[in-house]
Symmetry: C2
Subunit: 420 residues, 2 copies
Amino acid sequence: MLDSQSPSALIATMAGEARAAAQALALLSTEQRRAGLRAAAEALRAARAEIIAANALDMKRGAANGLSPAMLDRLRLDDARVAAMADGVATVATLDDPVGATIDEVTRPNGLVLRRVRVPIGVIGIIYESRPNVTADAAALCVMSGNAAVLRGGSEAVESNAAIHRAFVAGLAQAGVPAGAVQRVATTDRAAVGAMLTADGLIDLIVPRGGKSLVARVQAEARVPVLAHLDGINHVFVHAAADRAMAERIVVDAKMRRTGICGAMETLLIDIAYPDPAALIAALVATGCEVRGDGRARAVAPGIAAADDADWDTEYLDAIASVALVDGLEGALAHIARHASHHTDAIVTADEGVAQRFLAQVDSAIVLWNASTQFADGGEFGLGAEIGIATGRLHARGPVALEGLTTYKWLGLGTGQVRG
Amino acid sequence: MLDSQSPSALIATMAGEARAAAQALALLSTEQRRAGLRAAAEALRAARAEIIAANALDMKRGAANGLSPAMLDRLRLDDARVAAMADGVATVATLDDPVGATIDEVTRPNGLVLRRVRVPIGVIGIIYESRPNVTADAAALCVMSGNAAVLRGGSEAVESNAAIHRAFVAGLAQAGVPAGAVQRVATTDRAAVGAMLTADGLIDLIVPRGGKSLVARVQAEARVPVLAHLDGINHVFVHAAADRAMAERIVVDAKMRRTGICGAMETLLIDIAYPDPAALIAALVATGCEVRGDGRARAVAPGIAAADDADWDTEYLDAIASVALVDGLEGALAHIARHASHHTDAIVTADEGVAQRFLAQVDSAIVLWNASTQFADGGEFGLGAEIGIATGRLHARGPVALEGLTTYKWLGLGTGQVRG
């Protein structure tokens, strides 16, 4: 890797090394990949002081550059956070291995056996922002699923990412897993991101991890397929037949448990026939949430602010919710069809027929009945960890974990068959 | 639809109508979709004379425009071909319905039930060339899988496609399936293709059906995900331990049964340790195949032409094959890694260990052991029909049929769960 290389030549070189490592990785046994990750976790623990020292450089530069307290907190590593990162890698090493699993198998009348088996995708590009733990998390998921990773972290975490990467690949190599399987783009030149996004044929899939502007840039520029969600404008529809206590509990949790995550509720839709919409809105207001209502919501809860047109398409990621009163299930479905981001939407109702229609007709990656939208998370789905949440329609939807990082091929086992 | 609309406005309008129809279609039962396709097949049969008359106009214009005999043959419809097209639609109506199937289901410790169910992708754009039967074939696969189709056929078949489309959607409507589910782009303005390729968010998936230049244009310009194969540079590797009679039978079938299909063998790799490479090459020559060899192949079969560098990357789609002698399995794997198009590759060997390594290491959509590459076909795979063959890594690989035209969503069934 030469400093004089153009960004696209640099990415081509790294992707080529990653491809070669991926081919070697695909031939390792499950246990060999698990051992590599355990060794990487151990190496991260052993390099704790070095990683925290590198992080201190990033923190100092970040403070000098005027990063916000929230950004500095995302950037900061300490003993506990490094330990948690290493534990996360070790946990990925315990997950079910999707590679090599048979999806289905059929024997044709001519005796040809056709078997679909899961295989790694190949080379995964990860483009992320300030949290340095993504370096280890994403690398672990890629290696466990037999993929090579090309990691491009944010410039604000460059020292931290370098130290984490160094320890991680040293651990892999110690256990006989090719270090080339995890490539790090060291340059902070933003043109390197553009080179990754257009490296079709070299990088097989891009996963952006970060804020909306990063994801929007990736989606706009990428020639390589992307797994991502741009935003989570998630709805909870409280139907006329909802249990009132359950509705309040779910609405408050969906909005307020953590307001900054993509699974948080942004819009509450209340059936016009729901017995006490004012109490439901009051429950939300009582938690400190700013509520912005449409005309009908303000008619029942005069104290709330007025929502304008933009509110229905806004992901607040904050203690703010928009609220509309809608005409039953049809009104809710129409609102969601117009404004949803296909991420996570929920209905609260005791009427199973209504729930089934909602589940069938809402076109989102995750559709919930009588549960909080905050369950939109790979860990909560039992996937062990997630590389991200996807709202596109192809390949993988919702929380994407190891299985989503695989594809399949067809094996045909014959005894001399010809079509003749 | 106004003639004065820009191509992108036209495609946006059609895709919007398709989306609305897709939403209605997704709510129909399996039996309703089957009935729609049976009615469409019946309507095609009933419109036979009208379709053939329309086709005669295309044939006349095509002849005047100097289309080649092969292209005119692809364009031509007669009683038998219309009947076969209608039968094809009726057959799709009998296939297993993937929509609504549960992929997996888990009950979490908190009681939340998470179920992944197959759902249609949404709106599929099909861009195709001269064969007018694609109008009916592609529409049938889309409707059966609950998707709406936006069809853009070649200008040379415009009258035929219009007549087929008219009959097809009339049949659908008779059976209560929305006619808007199958949209036809009537304009022959090539800018309409560009508008489809960049209609991200409006069209969910593009499937090109046609020659290499069409597929290359689609892959280069598309912002919408594409399922396709650019070419099928397929290899047969005859290993030292191959049964000689089987090897000759498979090689001759793979190359010569039909030379113009994407599953045809283009390159024969013969293990240097195979007992009689000259006889294998002679068997191919005896069928009328032109053979172009590397130096080692010409040393054992001096009569054949010399291959140049370009031959190893050429899809002949003709009675021509390139032949190289390689150093065992490793030599074959290296050649395939360098030159394959990730479509279909085969090994002939009696050595199971060698076969398993070939199956594991060749990175192609279809990898065969002791069978002809000409089995690369949805019908031969038992899928009933195919919309195409994909060589990309994501979503679906190899022959793509109804299941490949679906995605999934997560349903979460709770009893009031919150993350708290």
